[in-house]
């Protein structure tokens, strides 16, 4: 689900309420187009909420301002942190999405495994996009 790249390109200084509402309508649009009513909405809203806390945890706003960055970038803390950041965001999104998709306890480990592999492939896709489009 490479649309997660959109989340990665939204500046961290954006209003957190606007982020939530925007994620809601964004997810609803994807749902309406894909016919999976509610699932992407739930995942995107949850991600928008959690991403706010992840940003607080991962990113150092002062040094980012000095570096002239508005989003998480390899230059900020090194490429390892960049991939961890990207992977954790993708993983959380997929975890919520597949939880609602499978929606039973017996599929608990399946959900975790699928989320893990999908998150890795999402990171991979995002990398390819970045190579094609350019490094920003």
């Amino acid at each position: 689900m490479p649309y997660l790249m959109l989340f990665l390109t939204i500046p961290i200084s954006v209003n957190k309420f606007g982020m939530l509402i925007g994620a809601f309508f964004f997810g609803m649009t994807i749902d309406a187009l894909g016919g999976s009513m509610g699932m992407h909405t739930a995942a995107c809203v949850s991600l928008a909420f959690i991403k706010y806390h992840i940003d607080n945890y991962f990113l150092d706003e002062n040094s980012m301002q000095l570096q002239g960055l508005s989003v998480m970038h390899e230059d900020h803390k090194g490429w390892q942190w960049y991939y961890i950041y990207m992977f954790s965001i993708a993983f959380i999104h997929h975890l919520i999405f597949f939880t609602f998709d499978y929606f039973r306890w017996s599929a608990f480990f399946t959900v975790i495994w699928i989320s893990f592999t999908s998150a890795i492939s999402t990171v991979f896709f995002v990398l390819i996009f970045r190579m094609l489009i350019g490094k920003r």
Partner: protein, 290 residues
């Protein structure tokens, strides 16, 4: 009120998140058949569980009423028990006739609550919350749902005094259901409130552990067939003609609550006959309920 508004303002971000998430999940349950069915069955199960809790709580608070209904029903049923019924009298004596059930009965029942009870002393007495205004008189027998309790020795206006089985003066002859015989005397030695002694049972009676003892039909106070207890140990030797038997009481005197006072309808006549009986030995104990 202001505190609530302030709280909402401070927690606006999580609250907005929960609101949007709930609306998204509502969509999921609404448009996806599989998720809907799972949610629906879970909700149904939870609802059923809640209903059960509710009815449990309700029935707990109803217990008192139910208890009283059961006591009343038990009284009614006891009127119809076999050992209460008597042969219809040849001359159609109407004093035996019970208007409620149409049966001929020998006993009347009065429900009472134990308000004072003890098992510590050598001579224990029980106090009931019913007295002669409710029809309780001397020499009436008292039983509990578990078994025999004692005999009324004194009755005041609203209360009465009962000599419990756990009293050194109380004696009763048991009926061995397995042997179809009545023998011996049960009395308490004042030690264990669960165990009484059974003496004067002939050595040749084949007593076994676990035999059940009931009140005998020769008793003038107790109706026949009320549980007394179970034999837990018996020993005999050649020196003595009698068994030494320990009996575990059927009644748990620690948890007596509702008891039934049994009134023999013709107790007065029995008393008169008893007194006119030619006495062989003068040591005959008055409280002996043979």
């Amino acid at each position: 009120m202001l505190v609530i508004f302030r709280w909402i303002r401070n927690q606006a971000h999580p609250l907005l998140f929960v609101l949007l998430l709930v609306s998204a999940i509502t969509q999921i349950f609404r448009y996806h058949f599989y998720q809907h069915s799972i949610y629906f069955s879970q909700a149904l199960g939870a609802h059923r569980k809640l209903d059960k809790w509710k009815s449990d709580v309700k029935s707990y608070f109803n217990l008192k009423v139910v208890n009283e209904q059961l006591i009343a029903e038990n009284t009614l049923l006891k009127q119809q028990l076999n050992w209460n019924l008597t042969y219809s009298s040849p001359k159609r004596d109407t004093t035996y006739h019970d208007d409620k059930t149409g049966n001929f009965v020998k006993y009347e029942y009065i429900q009472a609550r134990v308000i004072r009870n003890g098992v510590q002393d050598q001579n224990n007495f029980i106090i009931l919350d019913r007295g002669y205004k409710d029809g309780i008189k001397r020499h009436m027998s008292v039983v509990s749902p578990m078994g025999i309790v004692g005999v009324v020795v004194e009755s005041a206006e609203h209360y009465s005094l009962v000599m419990s089985v756990l009293n050194s003066k109380f004696e009763i002859t048991p009926y061995f259901y397995d042997l179809k015989t009545s023998q011996g005397v049960i009395s308490w030695n004042g030690e264990d409130p669960e165990i009484v002694d059974l003496e004067e049972v002939n050595r040749f009676v084949k007593v076994k552990n676990g035999m059940k003892l009931f009140t005998s039909n020769y008793s003038l106070l107790f109706p026949a067939g009320i549980p007394i207890g179970t034999i837990v140990s018996s020993s005999s030797n050649l020196k003595s003609n009698f068994h030494k038997i320990k009996v575990r009481l059927a009644t748990d005197f620690g948890q007596l609550d509702v008891v039934t006072v049994i009134k023999n309808i013709h107790q007065k006549e029995l008393d008169v006959l008893n007194q006119s009986m030619p006495k062989e030995n003068e040591t005959n104990n008055h409280d002996r309920n043979r």
